[in-house]
């Protein structure tokens, strides 16, 4: 149904202004004043957004939903995870499609389609894990980029003997990706050294969750980030470093960008707001705070905030990867290396960054929009269809009350997991209503969408053949 959102304040990555938004067919048809007649002509429902901000729907570039792991599976699947995301103001996610070595990449992609189709309440796309490079993989990649619309490849530099790829694989992935206009993403930690440190800690009888952090020092993240960045410079590839946690990695990205390398960085709310001390909570509670890379000493938080403010880091992902404390995290009792890595953040990513960033004066409203939506849309081939409020864009809009106050809690969150790492955190501002392609998914704090309403989005390569088109133009 057509809609006319009136009296709201539109916030994009570039502008802040008051105007009404006319929506029809899932697309923003007009922005301006005096749109009542046009709205009436198409039977538009009028929605009053006085006193509210209108943000472009959030884009979460980093989620793991329905992901198999060590005999279990993430607590949230594409239904529960995307409904929770919508409550939090996110209207598009890009999930990581894992792959099996020795098997066709296309098979893995079809498995991820089977997990998500008919379940996702919001739009979604996939990144693709590359664990090996051989003739078969190379032969599949062009079709994956151009037909499947998967234009970002993930390479793990950690998890030795599980997912870790060697530097040769990373280098060849970069070469191929660069030719195809796809971006390479890295989990940047030195997996070989970490593997040794974990074995050493366990051999010495250190089994508690804090040793997860102590065996993954920040210098190893900085080293791997710098290594990947140099390979990106060598190959001319575009590199995106996921979940940056520390000063060493921020500096490595800054150094690469100063040299003109095409390198970008993401961080996550947990690294901005939580620190290593949470891993020392008694009674195995520290397991709730096991992410990889791990939470760092609190001093790194100022570095990350400063990088967001000054452009040193460009996006915010959730790294959503939820496991129940009871029945899943418990796998690591007596051996920290068996604790399922990850936590539930998909619902609170948007609110936490607004509250801690904008409301506390660290970020401007426009920087906030760029970080939670626009920059990801641009980097991952979704812009301008998504990531902004503009005529012709999808009507993915968050009606946000900047004066609302709420307290984050497992008791009220919508994720399918039995704890919230931000339990008790008071946040200012809340998404009140959320539209996906012009239809309410959340209306006045209630879910009114439908599992399966979300559409798979094919993304564009970052290198478009503009020159070729211009050359053939009359």
């Amino acid at each position: 149904m057509a809609k006319l959102i009136k009296n709201g304040t539109i916030i994009t990555a570039a502008d802040t202004y008051q105007a009404d938004v006319l929506i029809e067919g899932g697309i923003i048809q007009a922005i301006g004043t005096g749109l009542e007649a046009a709205g009436a002509a198409i039977g538009a429902e009028i929605i009053d957004a006085a006193g509210k901000y209108l943000f472009p729907g959030g884009i979460d570039p980093h989620t793991h939903l329905d992901m198999p792991f060590g005999g279990t599976v993430t607590a949230d699947n594409f239904e529960t995870g995307t409904i929770a995301a919508a409550f939090g103001g996110t209207t598009t996610i890009i999930d990581f499609c894992l792959t099996d070595k020795g098997k066709p990449l296309a098979d893995s992609i079809q498995k991820w389609h089977a997990k998500s189709a008919g379940k996702s309440a919001i739009d979604y796309g996939f990144h693709l894990m590359i664990g090996e490079i051989n003739d078969e993989v190379l032969a599949e990649l062009p079709d994956i980029v151009h037909t499947e619309g998967i234009t970002s490849f993930k390479v793990f530099m950690a998890y030795k003997n599980v997912f870790q790829a060697d530097d040769g694989t990373l280098y060849r992935t970069m070469l191929t990706a660069s030719e195809l206009g796809a971006m390479v993403m890295v989990h940047a930690e030195n997996g070989d050294v970490i593997d040794y440190l974990i074995a050493k800690a366990l051999a010495e009888g250190h089994t508690e969750p804090i040793y997860h952090a102590l065996t993954r020092p920040s210098m190893l993240e900085g080293e791997a980030t710098g290594r990947a960045a140099k390979l990106a410079g060598l190959t001319g590839a575009r590199l995106y470093v996921v979940h940056v946690t520390c000063e060493e990695a921020v500096k490595a990205i800054a150094e690469a960008r100063e040299q003109g390398f095409d390198v970008w960085g993401e961080t996550c709310p947990q690294y901005l707001l939580l620190d290593q001390s949470y891993l020392e909570l008694p009674d195995f509670e520290g397991a709730k705070y096991v992410w990889s890379p791990p939470l760092r000493e609190a001093r790194h938080q100022d570095v990350l905030w400063n990088a967001l403010r000054t452009g040193g880091l460009q996006t915010i992902g959730s790294d959503q990867c939820s496991f129940n404390f009871n029945g899943q995290k418990e796998l690591g009792k007596g051996d920290f290396s068996k604790i399922p890595n990850g936590g539930p953040v998909i619902e609170d990513r948007f609110s936490l960054l607004y509250s801690e960033g904008v409301a506390k004066g660290r970020l401007t409203l426009n920087q906030f929009v760029d970080l939670v939506s626009t920059r990801s849309a641009k980097l991952f081939g979704l812009f301008p269809r998504k990531g902004t409020i503009a005529v012709g864009s999808d009507a993915d809009i968050v009606i946000f009350d900047p004066a609302a106050e709420r307290v984050i809690s497992e008791a009220t969150h919508h994720m399918n997991v039995d704890y919230n790492p931000f339990e008790g955190t008071a946040v200012t501002g809340a998404p009140i209503s959320v539209l996906s392609r012009g239809e309410f998914v959340i209306r006045d704090l209630n879910f009114v969408g439908r599992a399966g309403a979300g559409q798979y989005v094919k993304r564009a390569p970052y290198k478009q053949p503009v020159q070729a088109e211009l050359a053939t133009a009359p």
Binding site: P68, F69, G70, G327, K333, D335, S337, K338, I339, G342
Partner: protein, 96 residues
């Protein structure tokens, strides 16, 4: 078959083996599911293929119970080798 029915069938298989005192000795997983190998103290071995996410989560609970029992046995016993033999090859940490 609906996914729900499939979950029930897979859980019933696991429960059946648990009821007969089988122990997990190996879990091998890929994107299609998990292949679970169990063994009876008498030596009989069995394999269960889990395809559904919910059954794989249920497996985790059973596995945690077995690991806790193994730790309890190890504490109670002066010999740790017997307890270790009942613990399956370990799953590894998840990627991000």
């Amino acid at each position: 078959m609906s996914e729900y029915q499939q979950v029930l069938e897979e859980k019933a298989k696991l429960d059946g083996y648990m009821g007969r005192q089988f122990k997990f000795i190996h879990i091998e997983e890929n994107l299609s599911g998990a292949t679970v190998t169990l063994q009876h103290p008498g030596g009989e071995a069995a394999t269960v293929q889990l395809l559904t996410a919910e059954a794989r989560k249920y497996l985790t609970n059973l596995l945690i119970r077995q690991l806790a029992q193994a730790r309890t046995s190890a504490t109670a016993s002066s010999s740790s080798s017997s307890a270790a033999s009942s613990v399956p090859s370990s799953p590894s940490a998840a990627p991000h």
